[in-house]
Subunit: 129 residues, 2 copies
């Protein structure tokens, strides 16, 4: 497998990118990149994504300062998913948790249970947005 042109983007030109904390191994979030945001991520060393809901480019941390410094970019065997190992400044989740995956399924209760503690108050970081 050769360079970046081997990646398989979906019908919308997107590829899912899992972000993992390079130091702790925690899975922090998953978001979508396209060709342009991947190129920008490589150029700057910081994660850039395409927001499907807002239909715009965004850099992780652009509002909060909680940027992700890219240490390594990996691709899976099918070349249709990226794994990005990064140093996370602050917290990955806009709800104030270190990782976006802060709810675990409790099969006995049939409910999602919050685990982990908030590192910041979203209202203080993002204001009224």
């Amino acid at each position: 497998m050769q360079g970046l042109d081997q990646l398989k983007y979906d019908a919308d030109g997107l590829i899912p990118a899992i972000v993992q904390d390079a130091d702790t191994g925690e899975v922090l979030m998953m978001a979508y990149m396209n060709k342009t945001s991947l190129a920008e991520s490589i150029r700057t060393g910081r994660t850039h994504f395409w927001s499907r809901s807002r239909r715009k480019y965004w850099m992780k941390g652009e509002s909060s300062g909680h940027v992700q410094e890219i240490r390594e970019i990996l691709v899976d065997c099918d070349a249709d998913t990226l794994l990005i190992r990064a140093k996370q400044h602050g917290a990955a989740c806009h709800e104030g948790y270190k990782t976006c995956f802060f709810r675990a399924y409790d099969a006995a209760e049939g409910q999602w249970q919050t685990q982990g503690t908030r590192l910041f108050d979203p209202q203080q970081v993002y204001g009224s947005k």
Copy 2:
């Protein structure tokens, strides 16, 4: 956030599920679940997915014996991505590597470089499939 009915599936009824090794923290693979395969995963304690290319259900390890015993199921803040922590028997990747993410991008060369070593020979495990 209450139970499983809070999950947001895409237009095809699918939700991406990242699988992480519960012991080592390695991200092993990403595949897609639908409501039925998630229910089957919870019921059996082993990961079941929906194959978009083959249009069928599959249990990880059904051919190879390399099953994934589920330890924990987490959901992200948007409720549209799952993270499954599992004990991986054998190797996750059908190409014989522990993880499907065995190629890292070498920006200097502009190429994907294989890292990690094969744990098994795919031909021996999967035969001529």
